[in-house]
Symmetry: C2
Subunit: 496 residues, 2 copies
Amino acid sequence: MKVSIFKSLEVGGKIKNKAFDEQSFALRKKLLNAQFKLQDLGYPVIIVVAGLDGAGKGSVVHRLNEWMDPRGIETHALWQVSDEEEARPFYWRLWRRLPEKGKIGIFFGSCLNSLSQENTGGKSGAARFSNNCQAICEFEKLLSDEGALIIKLWFHISRATQFMQLSQDTPRKQQNLIVPGNAKQSHKSYKKTLKLVEKLILETDSKHSPWHLVSAEDNNYRDLTAGQIILEKMQAHTGAGQSGEDTGWTEDTKKNPTILKTVDLSHVLAGDKYKRQLRKYQARLQDLAWQFHAQGRSVIAVFEGWDAAGKGSAIRRVTAAFDPRLYKVVQFAAPTDEERRHHYLWRFWRQLQRDGQNTFFDRSWYGRVLVERVEGFASPDEWRRAYTEINHFEQQLVDHGTVVLKFWIHISPEEQLRRFKERELAPQKQYKITEEDWRNRDKWREYELAIDDMVARTSTGCAPWTLVAGNDKCFARIQVLKTFCKAMQATLKNER
Amino acid sequence: MKVSIFKSLEVGGKIKNKAFDEQSFALRKKLLNAQFKLQDLGYPVIIVVAGLDGAGKGSVVHRLNEWMDPRGIETHALWQVSDEEEARPFYWRLWRRLPEKGKIGIFFGSCLNSLSQENTGGKSGAARFSNNCQAICEFEKLLSDEGALIIKLWFHISRATQFMQLSQDTPRKQQNLIVPGNAKQSHKSYKKTLKLVEKLILETDSKHSPWHLVSAEDNNYRDLTAGQIILEKMQAHTGAGQSGEDTGWTEDTKKNPTILKTVDLSHVLAGDKYKRQLRKYQARLQDLAWQFHAQGRSVIAVFEGWDAAGKGSAIRRVTAAFDPRLYKVVQFAAPTDEERRHHYLWRFWRQLQRDGQNTFFDRSWYGRVLVERVEGFASPDEWRRAYTEINHFEQQLVDHGTVVLKFWIHISPEEQLRRFKERELAPQKQYKITEEDWRNRDKWREYELAIDDMVARTSTGCAPWTLVAGNDKCFARIQVLKTFCKAMQATLKNER
């Protein structure tokens, strides 16, 4: 299952009305305090409320005005561009609305509209899009350098929820009439919009003004989460509250079910059917492998997964289809002495093969945000910045023409336990199970959160994650082989 | 006289052999100390030695190896790309050569070659160029985030010096034979190269890895300055030495004669000749003004200069050619209360007129890096970051289609004194001279340095500074009018 960075926002997150009332009462008092404190200290606050149509951005803005002192808040809807604005450089429309020191400005709609209207296709379109994103970063940096607090919220809903929201015509929904009347259309272009938004968010997410992604499936959850984020950022800005450390986007929305919940582990693929499919896809893959070689193209595939999830056996089913001269399997354990004396990405760069050669990584650079994060080998600052570094790294691979595939092989903790016990009994597999494996099991929940973050921050359009249901090994292998074939075929097709 | 950011590097800066020997002896000891300290602490150091052909990059690298312990230094010439490198993503060639912790890597040639080979013309070419620059910034940030010290040196020589260097065929120059043999050609494209370099430097100059521009007119001066910069950066990185504050590029090369030295103040334009020229250029400008209006185009002109340099009278000669409905003169003194509650650029943004309207600024946003810097109203951090902010601001104006003109009207201190005294005597001009003006005279030298930095960091290709010789007021006015006509004509021509 290929996933986008938004997927984990569609999982759960509900708050009952009674709980909402209690929590919002407490939150309100704290928000007011924080607002007055920032006012005294004279920091301007800029809150960007952006999100998909139907996610309830308007309701959030209402709520914020209700929770805080509206006399210190100015709300600016950036829907229509006046002729006065069109006759001046783009950022004039923002400069004229900037809150003064001590005030809060809520910007509603953001610059996404104008970005999405531009042609972003092709190489030059993409470069222009990047340039616009860079201009946004420069603008935000300029403001934050002067002490402004910038809080950017993105409200996400699933396609199904959007459909429901936009097709409701109850009077309560009247406010939607203000939106340039293309609700149905915006639903049609859901996928396309999301792709654009993903790029926008990844490229304009910076240390001084990170994005916060909020699930808007449930109204109560949406409002409380938004309020909580704003409170934390405001407290951190004045030095009150927690560490003031930047927490990045997904950790805000941390909730009980993680993205792994969406993987259906019940699939089974039985004997003969499995064998037939294995033969079919391996044959197809073999063919594709030679075509890739002929064109000087490469695949880099990353295999990650729980201990005993079956990474090794999945890799073997893939390599069986490749001529031995065409691939290399690289396994990563602890770094060597020499590797330790370099940047952590160095040891992966040095393993890059020539064009036309394929590399399969059994564990990879994602160790930085998995084991190194959970075990504390990397500091929070280090693993947080690793997401961006990894995205840039993979972008460079893709720009060079490489196909990047990333698999997370998922199994349930029960299935893992079963396999561990099996291994202990089978003499030829005993070496595969160590004390450490048992210890890692205790950190299952921490790993779950790390995986959720990893997927949310690195499942980019150019190198998305594939979550593989691994409880049945045969089913998992076929999924992996299918993903290989699909991606390679798509690449060859685009080539022509 | 239109100037580029490199102009001030062509002014003076010479060190005699005897002084060189003494200074280099002292420097060497300190450099060795700093090298060993960084080695102990385990920071990698990356020194980029870049510059125009004939600037003596090779000699600098020799010198550095001589001054420091060559066992800790690896030099990498990035001239030719191997087929191994071509078959992998671009940055692989750099990753494989990165120095390990505690070592120094000298990179020689830098990525300029590959950048300049790409098509950088047109809108999409420019966007791609920016993208490449962004990738460089990301790469450097990644390294510096891990503790690497990055020192980037750019060696500049004037066109005349380059010609001399490249046409010498003495045996000492043999090393040049290694350079892909197009020395003569590279001289031909001097101007084009410089334009590209300017963009590269402005776009890849960042807080964590700023550029240092070094004048290479004199070998001794070149080597000592480079060594001094490296020493300071190394000391700052280990916390030894000075504040560790980032000093930006031009302050390193601060030397006695500043860019203002290049303005020839002896020009005089006498009575009748002046009148004829005034009529001629005002008539031409009037014509251009209406053409601009018809096309919805605008000019934004900034007038800066010493007290009593004649800004006001120059502006009046310009406005005489414009219909009063087409322009606005904005004068800036201390900011108002409301303005103080915003970012310092806010008060300039709010003065932007609609397309088709022209604005003449009598003093401007450059106050940030002139009076506010000299008087200490802005902190070093604030005025240093203002250069970039101003460049981005003007880039946005130009991108929107506005013509940006910037004049510095220069007069000698003696001429200023004469005018001050004259003003004190003339009753109708007495109001023009205050205590403050006299005080400012005492800071002449500080202003000179600030002006030198300002020109070096903001005289960009899209909005260059024009230095006006102002000792003779008539001559100055004609220069200003001519510059207006030339720039507006060029714009209209490109339009067609």
